[in-house]
């Protein structure tokens, strides 16, 4: 087990290193840099100023040097300075993380707490009207562009309550907290709950065909015991994987949702930073997201071992 952990961590480091290379050089391939943008915003460029500025920001140096500089800093906890705001990147990124984390957490929670039970019901009642209805609803969840769903929710909220949930970093009341976090989380979670439901359903169907389910029935176990005790315990494994993968996809959904609901989280910030070619922000944020995703995958693997006694990472 310990050896396995170390090995996994090493692999994770390799992956993260790879990501750092990819993201760093990918960004440099993207035409246009912060200097261009700054001058575009000003509508003019004085070549001398441009050179000065490039020097000042250090983007005149060879890429490899820049890369080593970045990684070196990263290892010391120094993320550099945002080109745009000129504040330490860490200071820009850190306060936004809890916001997105809360959203993502709530969305996952929502997705699991809706998706899993509905998936079980749908599988148990396979072929029934309920099954069809649930499948159609979940599919419509998957078919709505998320910005569109978000806008609909906002419009409906204004039309019905004359109010719009506007982000408030320090909600004063439950209502505000609900509006700030839960509604957007539900919009994001709706889509992934549809996914969770589908995967739960197919996983359950698979498990329900297994011999040991028949054994449980032969013991005289009730339907509920068979479905939830014997079947779900086995069916949950692929669901965990999907929820883990969802964690990565969630970031994409959050970019859009944070934009629609105007939530100052990391996802939207990332898009802005890409637009501004604010490399220190983009690089570090992407690295942060990658770390989260990689750890999410790792957690999923660990959860697997918890839920499935057959998996005991001994090697």
């Amino acid at each position: 087990m310990f050896a396995y952990l170390v090995r996994r961590l090493l692999l994770m480091l390799v992956t993260l290193f790879g990501i750092s290379v990819v993201i760093f050089f990918l960004l440099r391939i993207v035409p246009g840099n912060i200097v261009d943008i700054l001058f575009a915003a000003a509508g003019y460029v004085d070549p001398a100023d441009k050179v000065d500025l490039e020097k000042q920001l250090g983007i005149d140096q060879p890429l490899v040097v820049q890369y080593l500089h970045w990684i070196g800093g990263l290892l010391h906890g120094d993320l550099g300075y945002s080109y745009v705001s000129e504040k330490p990147a860490l200071q820009e990124i850190l306060p936004r993380i809890p916001i997105t984390a809360r959203l993502a957490g709530l969305a996952l929670l929502f997705s699991a707490s809706i998706g899993i039970p509905l998936g079980v019901i749908s599988a148990v009642k396979q072929g029934s009207r309920i099954d069809y209805a649930l499948r159609v609803v979940s599919l419509s969840g998957l078919s709505l562009p998320s910005f569109w769903l978000g806008l609909l929710v906002l419009t409906a909220s204004v039309a019905m309550f004359g109010q719009m949930p506007i982000f408030n970093a320090n909600p004063r009341s439950f209502g505000e907290a609900f509006a700030t976090y839960c509604i957007p989380a539900m919009v994001v979670g709706f889509r992934s709950s549809a996914l969770t439901m589908r995967i739960t359903r197919s996983s359950m169907l698979e498990v329900l065909r297994q011999d040991y389910i028949r054994t449980a029935r032969a013991k005289g176990a009730s339907d509920a015991a068979v479905n939830y005790h014997h079947a779900l315990k086995n069916a949950i494994l692929p669901v965990i994987t999907v929820i883990g993968i969802e964690a990565a996809f969630l970031i994409g959904g959050l970019i859009v949702t944070e934009t629609v609901f105007n939530i100052p989280g990391v996802a939207r910030f990332l898009v802005e930073a890409i637009r501004w070619r604010d490399y220190p922000i983009v690089q570090n944020l992407v690295m942060f997201i990658a770390v989260v995703v990689v750890f999410a995958n790792f957690t999923v693997d660990m959860l697997y071992a918890v839920f499935d006694p057959r998996i005991r990472y001994t090697d």
């Binding site: 297994q210 040991y212 028949r214 054994t215 449980a216 176990a221 015991a225 014997h230 006694p309 057959r310």
Partner: protein, 335 residues
Amino acid sequence: MADRSDLVLDVKNLKTVFFTNSGLFKAVDDLSFTVKRGETLAIVGESGCGKSVTALSLMRLVPDPPGRIVDGSVLLEGTDLLALNETEMRKIRGNRISMIFQEPMTSLNPVIRIGDQIIEAVRLHRNLSSREAKDIAVEMLRLVRIPEPARRAKEYPHQLSGGMRQRAMIAMALACRPALLIADEPTTALDVTIQAQILALILDLQKELGTGLVLITHDLGVVAQAAQRVIVMYAGRKVEEAGVEALFAAPRHPYTRGLMASIPAVPAPGVAAPARLNEIPGTVPSLVRLPKGCAFAPRCPLAVKRCEAEYPPLTDWGGGHLAACWRAADVAEVA
């Protein structure tokens, strides 16, 4: 069939079909038999002839859809199982009637400890504390000769070898001391040396508990060693039934006879070159398009016109030796 009170199981005209997209599968067709207390009834026949479906029908576990028991009655200690509702049936399953499945590898829930799976079986039918149930579980494991039962109870199925898993299955099936145990090919997936151990174990326990046993197999050797009475099935139907000695001494149905002849035996000394086996030509018919008459007729060396037109009735040839063959009388002569 003298003493009715001694009957654990009385199956009459059982008919189970499958509605599939290639047609109607008559998996079990008009099957009747009885099992006495402490008796072992073997059901033999080749793959797909309806042995497992028979077992599942007794348990009322035929998957629906596509399967359905469409006719007959199953009297277990006098109660017609087919007339019970699902809740009542659940009280009987695992309690008065229980079953050991073919695949010990897949028939145990991989994510639940062995002990807990047995405990569940006990507590479903006995009003016991979990402590007491646990003791019973360990006791059962000891009974099926699993070494260190208390430790093994805490293990998961994958930590056990195939033979041990089958023992655990047996422990689970017998935990409530059922009146009838159905063992559906309990040793097919195991090696010969392990098979011998498991068979001996089942028979011992059966004797000990006085349970009626339905032993399903396709291995005539196993039948000969274990059963008192035998049913031979072919394409969903019972084609022959007899006491084990009578059957082996003088099979009345050409299929039974062919089967016995085609099984390779450990050879008698002195035969140098490999000898051809007696084979039954042709293939097992599909259960959808069964011939109108005797299903075995196309492969039968004795087949006559009548066989193709009319299904032969089960006839008693004396001493409870039943066979369904127009030419049953000639079989013995030919053999």
